[in-house]
């Protein structure tokens, strides 16, 4: 990678495209943008021994239009400067941190226009940097919802970022993953050309449909972390807002019973969200609530949110949920569990900074998609892993504490697959502790990959080395060929998916990391 532009010329050129106030290359800006979600030990400059030598970009730019991005990408191609797209910056695999070659970070949050709602296809069009909060706000004016309501960061997270990372999150149980609701994408290709996918590929079409006009090209860019192009506009399905909601908390005899019950409830489409809690700290809290209230000693709590368009339907759903829960030997918590601050719907974000503070240490998580019935097996491994003398010793020397726990969480995925989170809390205050914890995390991720888990966010670290090592050569070659074909100058977010790294990727794949 060579740069023919000096830093000052680069800044001046970018200012010429987007204006002076939309460009920033101060140290404080660059380092702030090197970090994304703060829950990860993948903290460039703050953790040693990262998979890739990640750091700050050269400059941050806030484009407002697709044309701005086209111009930036064309200039980047000319001078072979990496371009790193970023949405809300709440992903946790450092997809928007820069390699040592630096680059232009595009903060897309000013591409936040709600473009229109189309009543025919019942879908809405917007710029990709719009946040979930703003989209929900705009749709609510028309009594609509996008269904799936955002990943970690919820109302502050950007939709384009979620699409680029195959996000899972709130209400995915009912409506499916974010990407399942995508109808069309507008993408700026690495060459600077702009394409529309699905129905909009036909310039005469003004409605939104995905699977038509040839191959499903939207899928090529979803989950690709910007490696193949920059998503600039998107269309999502919408749904009428349900008026009736209810939350329940059940305690099952075992985690397996809990998972079987959740699976059955899911298959009858009774839930909007759920959170099946497994072994760990929070589990004990819920268990104690039941013990105090009901004298119950069972294990395997599950929080369930359901919604309906009609009160009678909500009542019937409640009856069916109770029936299935009873079948698997559950006890129901009397009353509204959201009063305990543990709802599975609005309070999704309790799993964020809240839990870190609650537990007294930064929470490191390993979210990925697992078959629901496989969760108890992994949870058991996870719990045993943390009890081994070696890990205990590491824990005691790094102050990680014995706070590991797991959740089979609202699905981002349906039909028996869940977003599975195993977590542990750690004292992240020193570089040594973070570096040790980073290695422990990689041991967990390797185990998860070997159990066949599917990481949805791939970014530039965490699951990536373990996953790519287990790709078939043909699959890996195909990905690389795609990258080389679409992005011959290797400017689009190099390092994402380990693409564009040349021999460095071979080294990583040939040995287990770290």
């Amino acid at each position: 990678m060579t740069k023919a532009l000096s830093q000052s010329d680069l800044v001046a050129a970018l200012e010429g495209i987007v204006g002076k106030t939309a460009v920033n290359d101060s140290d404080q800006a660059r380092w702030t943008y090197a970090l994304s979600e703060a829950w990860s030990t993948v903290s460039p400059g703050l953790t040693d021994g990262l998979l890739l030598d990640l750091g700050p970009p050269d400059v941050i730019v806030k484009p407002k239009t697709t044309d701005h991005i086209v111009e930036i990408v064309k200039m980047a191609n000319k001078y072979k400067i990496p371009v790193i797209p970023r949405g809300g910056g709440t992903g946790n695999a450092s997809g928007s941190a820069a390699l040592p070659s630096g680059g232009i970070l595009l903060d897309l949050l000013d591409m936040n226009k709600f473009i229109r709602y189309d009543p025919v296809s019942r879908a809405c069009r917007f710029q990709a940097g719009i946040t979930w909060g703003r989209l929900c706000y705009e749709l609510k004016k028309q009594e609509l919802t996008p269904g799936f309501m955002g990943p970690h960061g919820i109302y502050g997270a950007a939709i384009g970022g979620g699409i680029s990372l195959d996000s899972t999150g709130i209400q995915g149980t009912k409506y499916g993953q974010e990407t399942e609701n995508v109808q069309n994408l507008q993408v700026v290709l690495p060459t600077g050309d702009v394409i529309e996918t699905g129905s909009l590929a036909n310039t005469c079409a003004d409605w939104y449909f995905r699977y038509c006009n040839g191959p499903d090209l939207a899928g090529l860019f979803m989950g690709a972390c910007g490696a193949f192009g920059i998503i600039t506009e998107a269309t999502l399905r919408t749904y009428p807002l349900p008026d009736y909601h209810a939350d329940f908390l059940y305690l099952f005899p075992s985690e397996l019973d809990q998972c079987k019950a959740l699976m059955e409830m899911d298959s009858y489409e009774l839930m909007s969200d759920y959170m099946g809690l497994a072994q760990g700290f929070q589990y004990a809290i819920i268990e104690n609530v039941f013990k105090l209230k009901l004298g119950a000693t069972q294990k395997g709590p599950a929080l369930i949110h359901t919604s309906a368009y009609d009160e009678g339907i909500l009542e019937r759903k409640t009856v069916m949920l109770d029936k299935i829960a009873n079948k698997y030997g559950a006890i129901k918590f009397p009353g509204d569990p959201t009063a305990l601050g543990i709802g599975a719907h609005d309070t999704n974000e309790m799993l964020g900074g809240g839990v870190s503070k609650w537990m007294g240490g930064m929470m490191h998580k390993t979210c990925s998609i697992l078959p629901l019935l496989k969760c108890p097996e992994f949870n058991e491994w996870h719990y045993r892993f943390f009890k081994t003398p070696r890990i205990q010793e590491l824990l005691s020397t790094t102050g990680l504490g014995n706070k590991c726990w797991s959740i089979q969480y609202p699905g981002g995925a349906k039909h028996g697959f869940v977003l599975h989170m195993s977590m542990f809390n750690m004292d992240a205050t020193t570089r040594d502790m973070r570096t040790t914890a980073y290695k422990v995390v990689h041991e967990i991720l390797k185990q998860k990959i070997e159990m066949g888990t599917c990481p949805y966010w791939v970014g530039k670290d965490l699951f990536l080395p373990h996953l790519v090592k287990r790709f078939t050569p043909a699959y890996w070659n195909f990905l690389q060929t795609l990258k080389q074909t679409l992005d011959p100058n290797n400017i689009m977010n190099p390092g994402a998916l380990l693409l564009g790294l040349g021999d460095k990727a071979k080294d990583i794949i040939s040995k287990e990391f770290p």
Binding site: S26, W31, E37, W39, K62, G341, G353, G354, G361
Partner: protein, 410 residues
């Protein structure tokens, strides 16, 4: 000894989940306990992540790990730019768990400012303001003659000693003198005589604390508390939200115990109004701007609204009110007003337009700093509204007349 060192928040900054709610949340009535439209006013204008709490927490991590170091550019660009409006703490995700406190963003920024102050990195204008406060011949952030502070009280014959003391503060004394006049006249109408320090009154030190000049802030606070103590006052009433928060919360952080009760005039007037005859009911639509230091910092939302209701006005709330209220842009200690006038202009313009959108022709607030800032915004934007500090609205409703201005609007 300072408030707390950045080092003391090492764990706290790593609790930050980076969820981005402190940056820009739009969640009005969607599916959440909160009802925000926007969070950080500075981000709302400047649009880069390092101006948010989440960004500053990232910078704090880098400073603590010596990847970044304090310098004049960082201080000017980020550390002193925060308004201290506390909106980021109100929305911070730990608050979703009952009993859990938000990340202590305000204390973290104060700790960073103290570091900068000690290193001589505070912006020049802010240093000059602090010097004016500590100048015994001035004792106010405006650098105005000390004698002018007491002009408003000249014809009121206020005692030097009483059980209750009124603390007028710099902003009202110099910039909106009919507020202290209204306070005295309204309290007298209710039969309450209050003492006043006169030229002995010092700045509360609000600006010093938010500038990071903690040593001077402590010295100033100790002297002020000593002077109040000498009057024998058991209660101090403030009409400035900033002074009130300084006495109530900041002095504790400085390790200073105050041997008297402190109240904001809104809390005092609300019950008093039940006993007073309204000669001139305010039969108009009124909107109310929550000052950050009376609202989010000291949790007083009800009293001002009750007063507005009691004087007969119809309250039309702005889209963002109560805990979600948008800052006027002056910033804690007026740091934004002093050092970032263009940013302040942008933020206050957004707020005054929000007030205008209510359709109300009267704006009421409970802080002289907010009052002046929003009045200036109205002039800049040709927004025709009348502006009242809360005591002035009450004075008008009671039919009292001002000796200083033609009307209580000032």
């Amino acid at each position: 000894m300072g408030i707390m060192k950045l080092e003391d928040f090492r764990k706290e900054v790593w609790f930050c989940g980076g969820c981005s709610m402190c940056r820009e949340t739009v969640s009005k009535g969607i599916a959440t306990k909160h009802a925000w439209v926007g969070t950080c006013p500075v981000y709302d204008v400047l649009r880069f992540d390092h101006y948010t709490s989440r960004g500053r927490n990232a910078i704090a991590k880098y400073i603590l790990d010596e990847v970044l170091e304090y310098n004049a550019n960082l201080a000017e660009d980020v550390i002193y730019r925060c308004l201290g409006c506390k909106a980021c703490e109100e929305i911070c995700t730990p608050t979703l768990i009952p009993g859990l406190k938000p990340l202590e963003n305000m204390k973290i920024i104060k700790a960073m400012r103290e570091d900068c102050w000690k290193l001589g990195l505070a912006p020049q204008k802010i240093q000059e303001t602090c010097a004016k406060i500590m100048d015994p011949a001035l004792n106010n952030p405006f650098g105005l003659d000390k004698a002018l502070r007491v002009d408003w009280a000249e014809k009121l014959n206020l005692p030097k000693e009483a059980e209750v003391l009124y603390f007028a503060g710099c902003a009202a004394s110099y910039q909106n003198p009919n507020t202290p006049e209204a306070v005295i006249k309204v309290l007298r109408q209710a039969g309450q005589e209050v003492a006043y320090l006169g030229t002995e009154e010092l700045c509360c030190g609000h600006q010093l604390i938010w500038a990071g000049d903690i040593e001077d802030a402590r010295k100033n606070a100790q002297e002020l508390v000593h002077r109040i103590q000498k009057t024998g006052a058991k209660q101090v009433i403030c009409s400035c939200a900033g002074c009130y928060n300084t006495f109530k919360n900041d002095y504790k952080e400085l390790g200073i115990t105050i041997p008297f009760k402190v109240d904001h005039i809104a809390k005092v007037l609300s019950p008093l109004l039940n006993t007073l005859e309204l000669k001139n009911k305010i039969q108009q639509q009124v909107t109310y701007h929550d000052p950050c230091h009376l609202g989010r910092h000291t949790n007083e939302y009800k009293s001002p609204r009750k007063i507005i209701e009691k004087v007969g006005a119809e309250l039309i709330e702005m889209e963002r009110a109560n805990k979600e209220a948008w800052c006027c842009g002056a910033g804690s200690g007026g740091t934004c007003l002093i050092n970032y006038p263009e940013l302040n202009k942008e933020i206050r313009t957004r707020r005054i337009k929000e007030a205008q959108a209510t359709g109300a022709k009267v704006l009421v607030t409970a802080c002289p700093m907010c009052l002046k800032n929003l009045r200036d915004a109205a002039q800049e934007n040709n927004v025709e509204m009348d502006f009242y500090d809360l005591p002035n609205l009450v004075a008008e409703a009671l039919g009292l007349t001002s000796e200083i201005y033609d009307s209580w609007k000032g």
